[in-house]
């Protein structure tokens, strides 16, 4: 596992355009990415992804160096990258919207 500038964010493969949170990181935290600080707009739970660079609608999302989906809207650098802004190339993702905090 390579580590980007902020050790809490993992870069799994050099081609990737997302980083994975090694631990939960609170909203408002400034994290270093490629030499510049980005302030997180939401709480990022452990195991979730943030954009490593700006992503345009229709761009392929790369994690582990492999395509894991397509951006459905523009995603800013440091923005939470998940079911609300990316979609599968195969089958739609089923999820339940709820107020329960992810443990």
């Amino acid at each position: 596992m390579d580590i980007t500038d902020d050790p809490r964010l993992l870069l799994l493969s050099p081609q990737d355009n997302v980083l994975v949170a090694r631990e939960a990181i609170a909203r408002g935290t400034a994290v270093m990415m490629g030499g510049s600080a980005v302030t997180l707009a939401i709480d990022v739970p452990r195991g979730h992804k943030v954009a490593r660079a700006p992503i345009a609608p229709g761009d392929c999302i790369l994690k582990y160096g492999a395509p894991i989906g397509i951006a459905t809207q523009a995603i800013a650098k440091g923005e939470h990258t998940h079911v609300h802004n990316i979609r599968s190339n195969y089958t739609p993702t089923y999820f339940i919207e709820h107020g329960e905090t992810t443990p």
């Binding site: 949170a21 195991g47 994690k63 395509p67 894991i68 599968s88 195969y90 089958t91």
Partner: protein
């Protein structure tokens, strides 16, 4: 490696790491009676399995035969209502031919619940004593068949637990053991990199076709093999989940493709194709994790590695389940249900190789008789439902001869 593996030698040459009495209901109508027989033997390896359907299904018939003659099984009691379509005669014949004690109790013939219960409990009590006299013989690491499954996956599964299990698989395959990974519905998106690891190009084409079949099947059903909790845990798409799940297979060359109930012909790494053949019928291929675990056991797995991020508590009937927790937060909340804490990798306390070595040591200890967390807690989940499969083609096992 500390423990010496030993096993119960069966007539087909395979060895079992447990000596279970399987009590099997052959239709849901016999489920309660079977369960009440098993309940009287909580402190013994008496496990409940069965098939709920009243209509015939070749897959279920074959699965039950493979399960009742599994090396971990020492004796079998069959519970029939009497009018179901399941062929209890051929199942009993297959078990008897394997040299195991077998009895069939038909509730309609016995005269109802209480008489069947009394007869069944007496039979099990006698055979608990018979099996207790059987001795274990030495067993080599290469005689083990180990399966792997992941469930309750989250964004940590593909970072820690699954690749660590892959390291353990690599070492088992090097030692000549048989390893099986599965769930082609959770390999969608991995078909190219997986096919490149096939022993022959023709096998690579079969691996690709199996994943394409899964993608078609799930597209027809409208959902991927993806639960709401996967998204809560940070996974966004089926192909992201797949990349994490694929890491369980390690780096070894893939020796073959099998279907549920097929016994791999020799050591090596095998993919199990669990998605039914033909048109979509009977609903989702694997309605829950235990359906996959049962299929791995039917193909001879002595034990199963179960990697979880969200926190599964499942075990299984017949074969021990070793639970590997990928997420350190989950581990802290549910440590009593886990055997290995792979989440330490995320916290910088262990490497993938170290956790891989720990998993291998757990496999050896469990095969030597040590109880897993789910065994200690009494977990014996089991589920078997309707499916349809065609036999595998000749390209699937290129080195079988």
């Amino acid at each position: 490696m500390t423990a010496e593996i030993t096993g119960y030698l069966r007539s087909d040459g395979r060895k079992g790491i447990r000596n279970v009495i399987a009590v099997a209901y052959l239709v849901e109508c016999a489920h309660h009676v079977a369960r009440e027989i098993v309940a009287a033997f909580r402190d013994h390896d008496v496990h409940l399995i069965g098939f709920p359907g009243c209509y015939p299904n070749a897959y279920a018939q074959r699965m039950m035969e493979q399960l009742c003659t599994h090396p971990n099984v020492g004796a079998v009691l069959l519970l029939s209502l009497g009018c179901e379509s399941f062929n209890k005669f051929s199942l009993a014949d297959a078990v008897a031919a394997s040299g195991r004690p077998v009895e069939t109790l038909t509730i309609q013939t016995q005269g109802g619940t209480r008489r069947t219960l009394a007869e069944g409990r007496a039979w099990v009590a006698r055979h608990v004593a018979v099996l207790a006299e059987q001795t274990r013989v030495p067993m080599a690491l290469h005689e083990l068949v180990v399966g792997t499954v992941c469930g309750g996956s989250d964004g940590t599964s593909g970072l820690t637990g699954n690749p660590a299990a892959g390291r353990a698989f690599d070492r088992l395959v090097e030692a000549g053991a048989t390893c099986i990974f599965e769930e082609t519905g959770e390999l969608i998106g991995c078909e190219d990199i997986m096919a490149a690891r096939a022993a022959t190009p023709a096998l690579g084409a079969e691996l690709r076709a199996a994943v394409a079949k899964a993608a078609r099947y799930y597209a027809t059903l409208g959902y991927g093999s993806f639960a709401a909790g996967n998204a809560d845990g940070g996974l966004s798409t089926i192909e992201e989940k797949s990349m994490g799940a694929y890491a369980k297979s390690g780096q070894a060359r893939i020796s073959g493709l099998i279907k549920p109930g097929d016994i791999p012909p020799r050591g090596g790494l095998y993919l199990m194709d669990v998605v039914p053949d033909g048109e979509v019928r009977y609903g989702f291929p694997n309605i829950s994790d235990n359906a996959e675990i049962v299929e791995l056991i039917a193909s001879g797995c002595h034990l199963v590695l179960f990697i979880t991020g969200r926190g599964s508590v499942s075990g299984s009937a017949l074969s021990p389940v070793i639970k590997i927790c990928a997420n350190p937060d989950t581990y802290r909340r549910m440590a009593e249900d886990m055997d290995v804490n792979a989440g330490r990798i995320l916290e910088g306390e262990a490497s993938l190789d170290e956790v891989g070595a720990e998993i291998l040591a757990r496999i050896v200890d469990t095969a030597a008789g040590a109880r897993t967390a789910s065994e200690e807690l009494g977990h014996q989940e089991f589920i078997l439902t309707y499916k349809t499969f065609e036999p595998i083609g000749p390209a699937c096992l290129p080195n079988a001869a």
